[in-house]
Symmetry: C2
Subunit: 211 residues, 2 copies
């Protein structure tokens, strides 16, 4: 239990520090391939017009996602976990050193692709955002409940694929209601851009609320 | 390191025991929603004609997958990990107690949906089978390399969705070659049944080779 406690303490330190700097940090969590990096690719150009944004990119191996995001000319700090299946607050604290924190408003953390462990770790964020993509199936909120309980928002991504799959939205919303009755959902497609405005809106409002 | 060593010892005991009983055990690993349970739903009716089959179902929460497989009248033993992100050999040993091991030829273990940790744990299986689905993207072998290094086979599932995604098979095979040059791949769709015969064939051959 000591590891989790030490992580919580460090996370609180990180959040206090970010609060002093008036920076809002979002922890984006999903299975591998749900579309976290693609969402950031779609969002960064829009957000850059309103905020000073940076990204902490968490991956087991490679710089692939970090390189994809470098194209958007925002500061990107990569953490290769070399096998660990989730990010912890100690590595976030180190990654933050790469940024000029007096010049930022918003930080995204793209966590390691994993629907289980990242939900257990506070990394100093102001909000966890869960992402689920349509092809994964409608049963995940009940099967992997902790993430959906901890998250402030769920993004249902790849809704352009709804017509090609057997995803049952009624079951998805019913299950989500049982796991976390207050959880808001944004239906989104990084292909058609549906829902992107609602996501940018949510970020704007949540940032203001956290200041 | 002790935990991993203790797990390895127990796994070897489990495998030795299965060998005495002439039982072949496959450990099926993928991200959440790649199609593990659906593949078993498609395969069990065919395999039951050749072999005496059982399933160990690993899930964080719920009996949903176990109930889906109960319909196929094979013995199913459920392990709810209550938060652990992978199965270990101690829980497999316990799950095996639910079966009459003198009446079995083949056991499938459906591991917890997670592309990271299950690859590190030997649970006494004769082969790890990695599953990746087309919507997750073509970059996973290099981004989550351990599973593709440990696996004896990779199933590329949901190939019926290839035409609706930007999955690049050339990149996928190039990356897989770099991670594990000997790894065979079966392209499959649980919707169109393409590749199901090749999968049944592979199981048949591997079982014979392991006896
Ligand atoms: N059809 C469709 N495909 C999408 C959408 N969003 C992302 N994709 C595709 O999904 C695949 C995976 O997207 P990524 O953004 O790399 O996923 P990720 O969550 O960052 O993956 P990891 O970092 O490996 O966990 C890619 O092939 C994307 O093109 C969407 O809204 N619709
Ligand atoms: N289009 C298409 N959909 C598929 C295929 N195989 C599975 N699916 C769908 O993918 C979703 C998830 O399938 P499951 O079999 O539940 O996935 P799983 O790997 O067992 O998921 P977890 O147990 O939660 O890790 C379901 O909606 C299935 O109908 C396929 O070959 N093609
Ligand atoms: Mg990514
Ligand atoms: Mg399943
Ligand atoms: Zn983990
Ligand atoms: Zn793990």
């Amino acid at each position: 239990q000591n590891l989790l406690e030490a992580n919580e303490e460090k996370a609180q330190e990180v959040r206090d520090f970010l609060n002093q700097k008036h920076i809002f940090m979002v922890n984006l969590i999903s299975s591998p391939g749900s579309g976290k990096t693609t969402l950031l690719e779609k969002t960064l150009p829009i957000l850059k017009q309103k905020f000073r944004v940076a990204v902490i990119e968490g991956d087991v191996e490679t710089e692939r996602d970090a390189k994809r995001l470098d194209l958007y000319q925002v500061p990107v700090s990569l953490i290769n976990t070399k096998g660990a299946c989730h990010l912890e607050s100690v590595s976030i604290e180190k990654a933050l050193l790469a940024f000029d924190l007096d010049q930022l408003d918003l930080i995204f953390v793209e966590n390691v692709g994993n629907l289980v462990c990242p939900a257990e770790f506070d990394i100093g964020e102001h909000a966890k955002v869960a992402m689920l993509s349509v092809p994964e199936g409608d049963d995940k909120p009940l099967k992997y409940p902790l993430l959906f309980q901890e998250a402030s928002l769920t993004i249902l991504n790849k809704i352009d694929l709804l017509k090609y799959t057997d995803f049952d939205k009624t079951r998805f919303y019913d299950d989500l209601e049982r796991v976390n009755p207050n959880l808001s959902v944004i239906e989104l497609s990084c292909k058609t851009n549906e829902g992107i405005d609602a996501w940018v809106d949510w970020l704007d409002k949540r940032r203001i609320a956290s200041l």
